[in-house]
């Protein structure tokens, strides 16, 4: 990450925040919805795209963040409730990540699926904290001593937090910890052989990822003023996974692009549907669109919109492009390489 990238991102954030502040409620809603999803998608991408730990419990972690922020906010914690949401998310994530110290790949993924269902159930039965199936009503976020009521203000807050989260995660990717994550994704055996403490590094990834998932949940609770168990079921995990697949696995910018795409797609289909005669048809199409989209991306562009953008850019800039951005290895090829790490191919 160069200084130039940071400046561009900052300028972009300021521009979108300004638009969000001046726009009408609907546009402000779209902006904060995208920003909040982006934070969640980045946190998920850290685990799946960077560290290679496939998890389906993202919805549960966002839920933990939402209920934590809701309860702390209602108790008068103000902005600290968002911090609390992050910390509780990190804690829950570390708990869900514990099996990853022994399980790999699909086996770990299944354990997170189980965790997702356990948490969904807990949200329903922990009456005192979650108010069960009827849902928890959340008071507005109190910032600098006054409640934040308008959607426009939430748009600005969400964009600022998205920018800070991106800054943190992209810096993290450039430390030894971030690089170690990439090696673990390719091969745990190689990582171990290189002297990387695999268990500790994975735990760090779970903690950081959980923190931002919790933050995402906290923002979600304050903006929708409500947290109910149905919102944090497996469907949310699927949505978040769709975002990082569409946007680009292992890319923070891709997470944001994916979040924009996946959040705005239903809106676009809705608009399209208003032009059509049958409303039933449209709602069916909406359900299908996600599934079709994920399949298409996995088949045609496994590294997401980001790599599509890189390819177009290197084609436009022609000979000026360096080899680094032009080469993209499809994920399916890679999976073949890292299923067979160096140690297995050894001849003694």
């Amino acid at each position: 990450m160069t200084t130039r990238t940071v400046l561009i991102a900052a300028a972009l954030a300021v521009a979108v925040a300004l638009v969000g502040y001046e726009a009408n409620r609907f546009w402000a809603y779209l902006i904060y919805a995208v920003a909040i999803s982006s934070i969640g998608a980045m946190s998920l991408n850290l685990l799946i795209g960077f560290c290679g730990q496939i998890t389906f419990a993202q919805g549960a972690l966002i839920g933990v963040g939402a209920y934590t922020a809701g309860n702390l906010g209602n108790a008068g914690w103000g902005a600290l409730s968002l911090l609390g949401a992050g910390l509780c998310g990190a804690l829950a994530s570390a708990l869900i990540g514990l099996p990853a110290l022994r399980l790999r790949g699909l086996y770990f993924a299944i354990s997170t699926l189980a965790a997702q269902f356990i948490f969904s159930y807990l949200f329903k039965i922990l009456q005192p904290l979650t108010n069960g199936v009827s849902g928890l009503v959340v008071k507005p976020l109190v910032l600098f001593g006054r409640p934040v009521a308008s959607d426009q203000e939430y748009a600005v807050i969400s964009i600022v937090l998205l920018f800070l989260s991106w800054l943190f995660l992209s810096r993290l990717a450039q430390t030894d910890v971030g690089r170690a994550l990439l090696v673990i994704r390719e091969s745990e055996l190689v990582a171990r052989g290189m002297g990387i403490d695999v268990s500790r590094t994975k735990m760090k990834a779970f903690l950081v990822s959980g923190f931002f998932a919790g933050l995402c949940g906290g923002l979600l609770a304050f903006t929708s003023r409500f947290a109910n168990p149905e919102a944090f079921e497996i469907g949310l995990s699927v949505d978040q996974t769709a975002m990082i697949i569409v946007g680009g696995l292992g890319s923070l910018a891709g997470s944001v692009i994916g979040a924009v795409f996946v959040t705005l797609l239903p809106e676009a289909i809705q608009r399209l549907g208003e032009l059509m005669p049958s409303a039933d048809l449209v709602s069916a199409f909406r359900e299908m669109a996600f599934g079709v989209l994920i399949i298409l991306f996995l088949l045609l562009e496994p590294r997401g919109l980001v790599s599509l953008g890189q390819r177009l850019r290197s084609r436009w800039s022609g000979s000026k492009s360096n080899a680094g951005t032009a080469v993209t290895i499809p994920l399916r090829d890679r999976s073949r390489t890292f299923a067979m790490p160096a140690f297995n191919r050894r001849k003694v």
Binding site: R171, L172, Q174, T175, D176, V177, R179, A180, L182, V183, E186, S187, V190, R192, G193, M194, G195, I196, D197, G250, A323, G324, V327, I329, R334, T337, F338, P341, A342, F343, R345, R346, K347, V348
Partner: protein, 249 residues
């Protein structure tokens, strides 16, 4: 510092891969470990590198028992290794991999906070100058590993191990898969590495011309144990070594 391995035995189920293997490596010495396929050379290296477990024996490095230590712990004691076949770490650049190697060496590496906030430019330049240039990798320092040739990847792996400033270096077939010329160059590089860093080297290798030109002493393994030890010249004339390699005449 010296390494003394005594009576090392490694079994996989009913198969005894290494039996009562002993090996001494002096300070600044390059020891070649050769032997026919299946002799147990790589298993032996993996064991003293903390990957495979032994059932008996000891390995003392600088007065400390190192059997059973993790690769990370060994790196902290100055023991580094390279791998026989290199994996391509797709998204990482040459500098990324070398920095990871340096990460094992606390003295050389800034802490997490400093890395998080600071720029690594000076450290990168230092790595380029001290490691990548001698290995002819300076031009590709910022290229992803996947764009490099097999020979270059081998060099990257060596650079990664050297970045930890090891005192003992295990090289598992550093020349395998390289062209004849690349192989001879690698041999020269290994000797210059020893001279510059003052480290001891254990080198498993099949290419005899490289082994003969590079090593100070050669240990021959067959069926999991040592059958001969001596200078390159002695190995070439030994009848037992000839028998193991070529069969009874």
């Amino acid at each position: 510092m010296t390494l003394a391995v005594r009576d090392l035995t490694i079994r996989f189920g009913g198969v005894t891969a290494v039996a009562n293997m002993s090996l001494d490596v002096g300070a600044r010495e390059i020891v070649g470990l050769i032997g026919p396929n299946g002799a147990g050379k790589t298993t032996f290296i993996n064991c003293i590198a903390g990957v495979n477990r032994s059932v008996a024996g000891s390995a003392v490095w600088g007065g400390r028992e190192i059997l059973g230590l993790s690769p990370a712990a060994l790196l902290r004691l100055g023991v580094a290794r390279t791998f026989q076949s290199v994996v391509s770490l797709h998204d990482l650049t040459v500098l990324d991999v070398v920095k990871l190697g340096a990460a094992a060496h606390a003295r050389r590496r800034s802490g997490f906070i400093a890395q998080f906030f600071g720029s690594e430019r000076t450290f990168e330049d230092e790595l380029c100058e001290s490691l990548l240039k001698p290995l002819n990798l300076a031009d590709v320092a910022r290229s992803p590993i996947q764009t490099l040739s097999y020979g270059q990847r081998k060099s990257v792996d060596l650079a990664r191990a050297l970045a930890a400033e090891p005192q003992m270096l295990y090289l598992d077939e550093p020349v395998a898969g390289l062209t004849y010329q690349e192989g001879l160059n690698m041999g020269a590089v290994i000797r210059s590495v020893r001279d510059r860093f003052g480290c001891s080297v254990i080198m498993v290798e099949h290419k005899m011309d490289v082994v003969m030109a590079t090593c100070d002493r050669i240990t021959v393994m067959a069926h999991g144990s040592r059958i001969f030890e001596g200078t390159p010249a002695e190995v070439q004339t030994d009848q037992e070594v000839r028998r193991v390699y070529l069969g009874d005449a």
